[in-house]
């Protein structure tokens, strides 16, 4: 059976992890925002902006990690805009989020045309190269899949661990979670709900931009229009799928990516040639929807998600 062969091949899992990496960054970013009580629909646009900013920085001569930092910074700026409008002003998180997505996307294309007015095909950069971790990468199946990725992918996995640690093991994480559950409880302790929520959105947006930058700096080596292609929206679903928990969200991202990697390979099998390829393109999305429906029945939504908090109001 061809599908079994695919599932047992290291290259398949390596591809799945690679496809999952940008999703992991952006899903973590969205998760942080939502844990603090803010839905950030700017994610799609912020990923586009991050993809461009990181790539452009490297193209202009900075190092790769500096490029990642630039992307993160650009994301944080959009996060600042988003949180400024949604937190102290309490504007609709849906409207602001979609507005940030439109603004970030269009201003990115604008910046692209300003920077490269005459170019028909975008230039390539020297992207992150896979780094095989000694010994670990020799493990059969898992080694090549997990430990022969680019350092940018390793960072994604480290971040999952760090975010989980901060959320569950530090006073700061507790305050962030409480801000998403009952902001009045945070305010009653004399902490600033505004500062906590804005901080979460800004940091979260930075992660989203890193997810975008992964596309241009690790998965590919160039910037294309439409390259984010709805990944941001997938990440919003992945947060729900993961019940707002970093570990589960990581599994969700890998699961989705595995479906995606699988459909490409199944298309090339004899069985796949019989069926219109659009069916395969749909597959990861359909399976995600099914998984989402199953998982989210038990999900614990942050109680104050999308509820603005105004001090002194009753």
């Amino acid at each position: 059976m061809e599908i079994v062969d695919i599932l047992l091949s290291a290259s398949f899992w390596a591809a799945a992890i690679r496809i999952a990496s940008p999703l992991i960054f952006a899903t973590l970013g969205e998760l942080i925002c939502e844990r603090a009580g803010v839905l950030n629909l700017g994610i799609e646009g912020i990923m586009v902006a991050g993809a461009f900013a990181g790539w452009m920085a490297v193209y202009s001569g900075t190092g790769l990690w500096v490029g990642v930092g630039v992307a993160m910074l650009v994301g944080m700026l959009f996060g600042l805009l988003h949180s400024f409008l949604t937190v102290p002003f309490g504007l609709s998180q849906h409207v602001v989020g979609l507005g940030v997505t439109l603004l970030a996307t269009s201003s990115t294309y604008y910046a692209y045309r300003l920077a490269l007015p005459e170019v028909t095909s975008p230039p390539k950069i020297e992207a992150f190269q896979p780094y095989e971790i000694p010994f670990l990468s020799d493990i059969p199946l898992f080694g090549p899949a997990l430990f022969a990725q680019t350092p940018f992918t390793y960072l994604a996995f480290v971040l999952v661990f760090v975010v989980a640690l901060i959320l569950y093991r530090t006073p700061l994480g507790l305050a962030v979670r409480a801000a998403g559950e009952n902001p009045a409880a945070v305010a009653a302790q004399g902490l600033s709900v505004t500062a906590i929520r804005m901080g979460a959105v800004i940091v979260g947006s930075g992660f989203m931009a890193m997810g975008g930058a992964f596309l241009t700096m690790s998965a590919f080596d160039s910037f294309f229009f439409e390259m984010v292609n709805g990944r941001g929206w997938i990440c919003i679903a992945l947060v729900v799928f993961g019940s707002w928990r970093p570990g589960k969200a990581l599994l969700g991202a890998i699961l989705f990516a595995a479906f995606d990697a699988l459909q490409i390979r199944v298309q090339q099998t004899g069985f796949g040639a019989e069926i219109p390829y659009q069916i395969f393109l749909m597959m990861p999305y359909i399976l995600s929807i099914v998984a989402l429906v199953v998982m989210s029945r038990r999900a614990e939504v942050p109680a104050a998600l999308m509820v603005p908090f105004n001090k002194g109001e009753r």
Partner: protein, 511 residues
């Protein structure tokens, strides 16, 4: 022994729009003293405490803690100075554990990790010392109201508060829980804690406080040591007149207006449904439904109000079996509802008083015609309710969330009674209201009875049931006792029924 003054409020004034909530209020609290802050709903008690705790900023006046002035509008500073507050509406996060709720904000935000073992030991020690038993790993959402309050108090004690503000702490407690709370508070004052106890329950104030200060319409109108005063004097001070409970004349029951015949509904989670319940609501009669909360009262109110359909059995309206029974049918049949939770199901917080006043009847004349709302008539109606029912507010275009609970309830009462209803379903109509408002609501219900309305009074307060009801039924695990006429049973006998004794064993038991 020289008394140390723990707290002093100096001429605090606070206005909300056109409403003066606090008018130059000054008083002090000594160390180890319990001061009760007494006043009707809307008298400005909660506002005053929110200023003290830095959640509101006063328009003028200062707060001093142990001689040090507190910066205004800064809860952090109030906490650091040792002021803790247990709000009437708890500030707990349901999805977090007890320990997480207690430690939230207690450690510097950027310390590298939570000291969970240390926090745990400290919570255990405090629980032990003050008899506040809670499990640190329980999810707060799963706790009872009494347990949540213990968490709130622990939260304050955990921060070494020197002054503890309790806003209406007994409003949600059973008598046993209240006794336990008082024991805890006595223990705390013996350790030098000062307490401000906000309440409008006079006997509780007399039981726990050393001294009472009374607020009326935002002004401090008097104060006394509890040993030098009595409940009557306090009530008079609080309300500005001698309070009298309603004088109940014998009922004159007429025809059955709304009946349940052998109605059952399924249980919902742990909340029991009705079990073969038959009940007749008669014109000119108040029926009291007594019982411990969560024994089917919600199902009863929902079925009568059209929110829930019976699985078996019939609803009979004016002698005829009804086929369809939706909330709209109920309202149009002259059934008025005073819902249990005025915030959740009684009003829409961000709507103004006018919109809330016409919520149940906006669809017909006079409030709308041909699909268009008539705002002039609607506003006139709201203003009439405001005037007749003494709803204290800046005006009919105020969002209802800005009103105190008592004033909100007065608007609901007006909305209900002005529709001239045949049947009134009053579910906990006086919960959280002060004595003046309680007597007012009770008086209105009796007056409606006098006009021939059938009233169902659902309450967990047996005194209220016994004072008002012509016939009392007890509900326990969804089963309904026979009706007992006024004076037939003593509170102790009713208590046995409430505990589930005396029911016919053949009626299926909740399983």
């Amino acid at each position: 022994m020289g008394k140390v003054e723990a707290l002093r409020l100096n001429a605090i004034t606070k206005r909300f729009g056109g409403l003066t909530a606090n008018d130059a209020v000054s008083f002090g609290v000594d160390q180890g003293e319990v001061v009760a802050l007494l006043g009707e709903n809307g008298a400005g008690k909660t506002t005053l405490m929110n200023i003290l705790f830095g959640q509101y900023t006063a328009d003028s006046g200062t707060v001093e803690v142990f001689g040090q002035a507190l910066p205004p509008g800064n809860s952090r500073a109030a906490l650091d100075a040792g002021v803790g507050m247990v709000h009437q509406h708890f500030t707990l996060a349901d999805n977090l554990t007890v320990q997480e709720n207690i430690t939230l904000g207690a450690e510097p935000l950027f310390s590298p990790r939570l000291n969970r073992a240390g926090a745990r030991a400290r919570i255990a020690a405090l629980s032990e010392k003050f008899h506040l038993a809670v499990s640190p790993d329980a999810r707060v959402g799963n706790l009872s109201v009494g347990e949540r309050q213990r968490v709130e108090i622990l939260k304050a004690l955990y921060r070494d508060v020197r002054i503890l503000i309790l806003d209406e702490p007994t409003a949600v407690l059973t008598p046993q829980e209240t006794d336990a709370l008082f024991a805890t508070l006595r223990q705390a004052t013996a350790n030098g804690l000062s307490i401000i106890f906000i309440s409008h329950k006079l006997h509780e104030v007399m039981a726990i406080a050393d001294r009472v200060v009374v607020l009326r319409h935002g002004k401090l109108v008097g104060g006394a040591r509890t040993e030098d005063t009595d409940t009557q004097a306090l009530a008079a001070m609080m309300m500005g007149l001698e309070a009298t409970p309603p004088n109940v004349a014998p009922a004159n029951p007429g025809a059955a207006l709304l009946e349940l015949e052998d109605v059952s509904t399924p249980d919902i989670g742990s909340a029991p449904g009705l079990k073969s319940v038959s009940l007749a609501l008669r014109a000119g009669q108040i029926i009291g439904l007594a019982g411990v909360s969560g024994n089917g009262q919600a199902a009863m109110a929902d079925v009568l109000g059209g929110l829930r359909s019976p699985a078996t059995g019939r609803i009979v309206l004016g002698g005829e079996v009804v086929q369809r029974w939706t909330p709209r049918d109920a309202v149009q049949s002259g059934i008025a509802r005073i819902p249990e939770d005025r915030h959740k199901t009684g009003t829409i917080a961000d709507f103004d008083l006018t919109e809330n006043a016409i919520l149940e009847r906006y669809k017909g004349v006079p409030f709308s015609k041909g699909g268009w709302l008539n705002w002039r008539k609607s506003r006139g109606f709201a203003e009439e309710i405001i005037r007749k029912y003494d709803v204290r507010c800046p005006g009919a275009d105020t969002p209802i969330r800005l009103l105190s609970g008592g004033n909100m309830q007065k608007l609901i009462l007006g909305r209900v009674l002005e529709a001239d209803p045949q049947v009134i379903l009053a579910n906990q109509p006086v919960r959280g209201l002060d004595l003046g408002a309680v007597n007012y609501v009770h008086g209105q219900l009796l007056e409606a009875r006098g006009h021939g309305a059938a009233v169902l009074l659902i309450s967990e307060d047996l005194d209220e049931i016994m004072a008002l009801s012509d016939v009392i039924h007890v509900i326990a695990e969804g089963r309904l006792s026979p009706g007992f006429v006024r004076g037939e049973k003593t509170p102790a006998e009713l208590g046995l029924w409430m505990a589930g004794q005396g029911f016919d064993a053949r009626i299926p038991h909740a399983s």
